[in-house]
Symmetry: C2
Subunit: 534 residues, 2 copies
């Protein structure tokens, strides 16, 4: 067979040749743009040519701080297709983490949305590799900023070569995209996605047994493009010629509902928090959303009530899926097998609320200390994953050995797998808290709290939250004779963490329950906290 | 990303883990079998263990002469998963060609259907590599045969290890399957399929924008398993856990209609000749075939009338596709783009009768002597194809350079490509005749005819045929004073060609029209022949 390389440039070639008439609808700060793919590809080539002239070379990293819009999508293909690496930066990280990942990735240029400039202005003096800042804005003039040198994205595109040829010598195992994940402890960890991984992941997204993305779809990724490549959906949608609706900055449930209705969106994707918001909006106002064939939901477990509300109350099919930054992310999708469609409603819902069956292309198993656990839906084990779109380590990070062992990714998620092969997450080996689809490390918060001069010991546990799934609560034992307030604790944490990491509650107690070997008994502590807060 | 290899064994692992309850229905000479995938995988492992004990090693070729049934499907996964190469032998080849390909492939063992034993008995003394013959039969006792040593497939499977482990060190670029194609001239040419090629091709078959194969499908490949792996459908269906219906030997239109009705087949695949037969059957008897979501048709162009009959008369969706042995075979599928669904009926039919849009993963272009031709639906060029499931040469064959040039497969098909990217085959560069989905080389027939002592010159042209698409007609100029009959000509050709290659008509003439440089004017000759025969 031919040694044809699976690259993003070859995917874009398909878009250019066959889907020139199809459209991208893009909402930005000031307006809603509509582009044909023909225009999109020309702008993408122009952007690549401009970056090339600015000195971006094969292997260089180019960072983005952007919402879901057409310019971000242009960077998605332009940067990897010129052989460079697209580093999508989570705009919700703390200053410390932002600084860390930009310097760790050694980003040469940053593409920044106008409204996100302050995030970088605050840390600009500590950035060690950035040679220039490219502002993504609809306005003619560049905004006032302390960043320099600063370039206008639109001027670069206008002056670029619309027929610029991408480099030919990209191998499928070359890096295409870099994304950092907030890990269990310490600094964020980088995951490098290869062209091959993204290509195969796109094929998988197009398979009927996964999301079945196709040319006929109108796709709206609500999951941010700075979060695991919006689950890879922009890559697959562009390749397959789907119509794309990019909802832009601060898209409220009302905005999302209107976009779905107006553009007849057929499939949309996001974390449970988003869909809880949409359900609330649908209770208040009436929309015609019957174009939707699937609401793809991942990032955290979707509650059964949510699935029921979408399907039974609103007649909107719901598709529960599972993955993580390290897995590009698609690992499982919860669809009924053909012989399960006749199950009673309640059983079907039970099946559908699991994380689901592993998608074609990926392998998984659950293991405990004795080996692979039985697929009986009862025995629990840590979920291990492998496959061609699973990372094999963290980017330049000596913590890789903690998660990548003997060719398998050790997820830290504790699961059961039933007789049908359906995965259900029941716990986490490490005490991560998942809030709004993002991880919060309790261990990180604890370590910082315990570094406070007045704190004797501290434990952070999660409590269920109707909007964010989980929220952290800090439990603190003060040193003898010390007396500080909740506000002082929060003020102390604030400069060191993203805002959404800050505990909702601080509970002062005399003692934290511990195991015989002195480890926190988090389960007991959580119950105690829930009792106190209720 | 992990260096996970795309292999058939990993596909079978998925089947075993998740689809053990799903079924394979298999029609053989004496009865219809039903197996679960659980039983299927155990039998497949047993077969591999038995072949291993017989001495089959990594890289060895194992030939099959079989219809579409469960044993053939077992060999499909068992042989490649043990690192050997499955050589599917076209049972319709001439003795000469059968002998040639078995010796050229150096098959170590042959798996042969009971009713196909005579094909091999006739040539057994001239086989240079075969160490044993394994008979696939439902009967307890081995049939009488001159073949030796002879083994019973069922006894091998019964005595094998049902938990046999496949070898671990298969790389995705290793050979998995070998299939010979009747080429333009001379001996058949071998195409070697890699694990990677078959894996990616299976992903493509599962994509919504191609055939969309899924777990929910009941799939019946009518296209033979000795013909381009039944278009790769058995690999994809097994992997995805689809129910499979394998129609077995000599499946008449009546048998096919009954199988579709009884087992609620959702997708079936075959050449136009098969579907013409089915349409005739549907005119004579009444069946409920409304489970069918697609009749996949390739191998030759499907006439518009056939598409119309399926869709309008019988309400059965028709899916026209294109490919060849060298392309695994899926290259194009003719689906309407979303904005074409509103076209008037006649225009939609026009679109649908084209070969269609290239599937995701493959690239193609049409070139003439000046380079790539315009995509205007008018300019003609030779179709060039490349991609990860396209062959890069013929197996141990110095004719590879004729078709594989600068990284592209030169198909010999002359096409137009329209503004939408839809490919339409308009002619062939070489004078191949396509009969019942198989190629007949006019040049081969001509060379043999002209070797007859009484023949002065001979040309073979195709005439349209309602059942077989095209059939060959021989035009012969005898030497002065010679006088032989049509029957004598046919008798002369018979031992050297497959039966279906033999010309339907032999026309004796005084002169064959030629170009100024002495080449046959085939177009003019064909018109002359059509005039004479009408």
């Amino acid at each position: 067979m031919m040694n044809t390389q699976l690259t993003l440039a070859s995917m874009l070639d398909r878009t250019e040749r066959y889907f020139s008439k199809k459209r991208i609808i893009s909402r930005t700060l000031t307006k809603t743009h509509t582009f044909t793919y023909e225009a999109y590809v020309k702008r993408t080539r122009s952007l690549a040519s401009a970056l090339y002239k600015l000195g971006v070379e094969k292997g260089d990293r180019v960072g983005t701080l952007g919402w879901n819009h057409h310019r971000h999508l242009e960077a998605y293909f332009a940067v990897p297709s010129m052989g460079a690496v697209l580093h999508t930066i989570n705009i919700r990280l703390s200053e410390d983490h932002l600084k860390f990942i930009i310097n760790h990735a050694e980003d040469k240029f940053l593409l920044i949305d106008e409204d996100l400039l302050p995030l970088i202005e605050r840390i600009k003096d500590e950035l060690t590799s950035v040679e220039g800042f490219i502002v993504m804005t609809d306005k003619e003039e560049l905004p006032d900023s302390t960043l320099a040198p600063m370039y206008s994205y639109e001027k670069l595109v206008a002056n670029g070569e619309r027929t610029f040829s991408f480099v030919e010598d990209i191998a499928e195992n070359d890096a295409a995209v870099l994304c950092y994940t907030s890990g269990t402890t310490g600094k964020p960890k980088g995951v490098l996605y290869s062209h091959r991984g993204l290509y195969l992941h796109s094929m998988s997204l197009g398979m009927t047994d996964t999301a079945g993305l196709s040319e006929a779809d109108t796709v709206m990724p609500v999951v941010p493009m700075f979060h695991v490549n919006a689950w890879g959906i922009p890559f697959a949608s562009t390749w397959l010629g789907s119509t794309q609706v990019l909802p832009g900055p601060n898209a409220t449930p009302k905005i999302l509902a209107k976009l779905i209705e107006e553009h007849k969106v057929t499939i949309t994707a996001g974390v449970p928090t988003i869909w809880l918001g949409l359900l609330k909006e649908l209770e208040q106002e009436s929309y015609n959303l019957n174009s939707l064939r699937a609401v793809l939901c991942g990032g955290s477990a979707a509650p059964k009530g949510m699935i029921r509300a979408f399907e039974e109350t609103h007649g909107i099919p719901f598709l529960h899926a599972y993955g993580m930054t390290e897995t590009t992310p698609l690992v499982t999708a919860s669809k009924l097998k053909s012989y399960q469609t006749d199950l009673p409603d309640e059983e079907r819902l039970e099946v559908r609320s699991k994380q689901g069956l592993v998608v074609p292309g990926i392998e998984l198993k659950a293991v405990n200390e004795y080996g692979e656990v039985k697929a009986d839906g009862v025995e629990m084990g840590e979920l291990l994953i492998r496959g061609p779109w699973i990372a094999d380590g963290y980017y330049k990070d000596d913590r890789s050995g903690e998660a990548f062992i003997d060719g398998w990714l050790h997820t830290g998620d504790v699961v059961t797998i039933d007789e049908e092969g359906l995965v259900k997450i029941v716990d986490r080996t490490k005490d991560l808290i998942k809030s709004g689809g993002e991880w919060i490390s309790s261990v990180d918060l604890e370590n910082t709290l315990m570094a406070h001069p007045d704190v004797f010991e501290a434990a952070v546990v999660s409590i269920p939250d109707p909007k964010w799934q989980e929220r952290p609560v800090a439990c603190i034992v003060l040193k003898d004779g010390k007396n500080i307030t909740k506000d002082e604790i929060i003020n102390y944490l604030e400069p060191q963490f993203a805002k959404w990491w800050l505990p909702d509650e601080v509970i002062f107690m005399d003692e934290i329950p511990k195991t015989s070997v002195g480890k926190f008994l988090k389960m007991a502590l959580r119950e105690q906290v829930l009792g106190q807060l209720s």
